[in-house]
Amino acid sequence: MRQENELIRLDNVKVTYPAGTEALKDINLSVQKGEFMFVVGSSGSGKSTFIKTLLGEVKAASGRLLVAKHDLGRMKRRELPYYRRTLGVVFQEFRLLDDRNVYENVALAQRVIGVSSDKVRRNVMQMLEMVGLDERKRAYPKELSGGEQQRVAIARAMVNRPSILLADEPTGNLDPKNSWEIMNLLEEMNQLGTTVIVVTHNNEIVDKLKKRVVTLNKGEIINDEVQGGYIQ
């Protein structure tokens, strides 16, 4: 049963950078469909490398990494875009396109995968309603608050209905109120069936939400708790 629901599996995954630094050391991890997981740790613990490895941006030097039935170690370069369509990504610095309005920023994700214009309109509007920005669809990123920009980024990440949502420090640039709004939104996405992995420094959020917490230190998992808290 557990294997059937397994969406991400890392077996002895080791990531080494060209300079010889071991960013991840023998990582073993299993993430189930629909899980909500925090990845925490101090700077240099390997959190970013963990996200980059899941994104296929960094290749594991050894070990096996399976994500949504894709074996990342054997994946060819041309298959990477199709794999990435199973993921949604949210970054700390939002990464919206300043020359396009809210609607166009979200629609880009749909256009990339070749969705027809009618469906793009329907899906984008549905997503914008979900994140509460349907009335600001014509606004440009610079006219939005940090929280609103991150909501647009979440809408863009979710509009293609990925099975996994990766959020790299999604509240890093936000005040506490906006941070909670974003976390609530991520929880909402999780409740709709999306597996959510959040890399964060925000101990308050981690401690309050009582979700699974994987703690990394110097490239190793030092703690993995089902309803965990932030370990300093």
Binding site: L55, R78, P81, Y82, Y83, R84, R85, L87, V89, R95, L97, L108, A109, R111, V112, I113, G114, S116, R156, A157, N160
Partner: protein
């Protein structure tokens, strides 16, 4: 199809955003193709004149005395079977004598009386052999000389070889200049596209994260290059269309002496080649320039 539509919209947007580089690239391609057009017009007209001259440059073949009609026909068949022989004209002894009289004496001279009605050129029946390519003249003469029943073969080697050599010289010089200019154009398109890639670095990185294929990312830049190339081809085509006809007319009206032996290719005929050639070259260098740049810079961004 959707990728193409997206690529077209974004490609045109790129051109607008990098107006300066795009205009520089369009300007260079237009200049390059304009020069190509001028060289092409020169070469094609020169070739046309060479062709006309070549049609007038013949080989004269004289037969042995007392040759039979069958033998003459056999020689004709053999000569006509040669690749570059366009036509073979039989000049009988009487025709040769008539031509000679016309060329050498006025109508008032009673030359016939001098010879008492006899034909002094009675053994001078000949063939005039016309070639489609004068550069083959020597080998054809060599071949004819070996045939039975041939007394003498006259060619006009000097004219033939100097025409061919000059034609080659013009072709080589213009080809070198054109190749140099095409390389400059490719460089400018690459620069325009590279600027576009730098400007859209964030967008490309985001598109990669959300699963855009390489083709989807490259398409706007390829479209940008192709559109620049196409516009760069259309501008000189329009200019040349107006200039060519006027230039020909100018030469023919102002240099009447030349007009007797200068035969120009007409505008429509000239553009039958120039339109596809320009579009192919313009689109080709636009595509190659942008493809090289896109490949290089996108790899660097990975």
């Amino acid at each position: 199809m959707k990728t193409l539509g997206y690529g077209l919209r974004q490609g045109l947007k790129n051109i607008g955003q990098n107006r300066l580089f795009s205009l520089a690239a369009i300007g260079t391609i237009a200049t390059c193709l304009f020069l190509l057009g001028i060289f092409y017009a020169l070469i094609s007209n020169f070739q046309n004149m060479v062709y006309n001259a070549e049609s007038n440059v013949g080989i004269t073949v004289f037969f042995d005395e007392g040759i039979s009609e069958d033998q003459i026909n056999w020689i004709k068949e053999k000569v006509l079977a040669c690749k570059t022989v366009e036509k073979v004209v039989y000049i009988s002894a009487d025709e040769a004598w008539e031509r000679f009289q016309k060329e050498m004496y006025s109508e008032d001279d009673k030359i016939e009386d001098t010879f008492g009605g006899d034909n002094p050129l009675k053994d001078s029946a000949s063939f005039e052999v016309y070639l489609s390519d004068v550069s083959n003249q020597e080998s054809i003469i060599h071949f004819i000389k070996k045939l039975d029943g041939i007394r003498k073969v006259n060619g006009s080697n000097t004219v033939a070889s100097s025409l061919t050599n000059f034609n080659l010289l013009v072709t080589y010089v213009s080809a070198s200049i054109i190749i140099l200019l095409l390389m400059v154009s490719i460089f400018l398109i690459s620069t325009a596209v590279a600027t576009g890639i730098r400007v859209r670095k964030d967008e490309i990185s985001i598109m990669r994260y959300i699963g855009a294929t390489d083709l989807f990312i490259k398409m706007p830049f390829l479209v940008e290059g192709v559109v620049i190339g196409m516009v760069g081809a259309i501008i000189p085509l329009i200019l040349l269309w107006f200039l060519y006809g006027r230039m020909v007319q100018f030469i023919l009206t102002h240099f009447e002496v030349l007009s007797r032996w200068l035969t120009f290719v007409n505008t429509a005929e000239e553009f039958k080649t120039l339109i596809p050639l320009f579009l192919l070259v313009g689109v080709g260098i636009g595509f190659v320039g942008s493809a090289v740049s896109v490949q290089k810079h996108l790899r660097e961004m990975e």
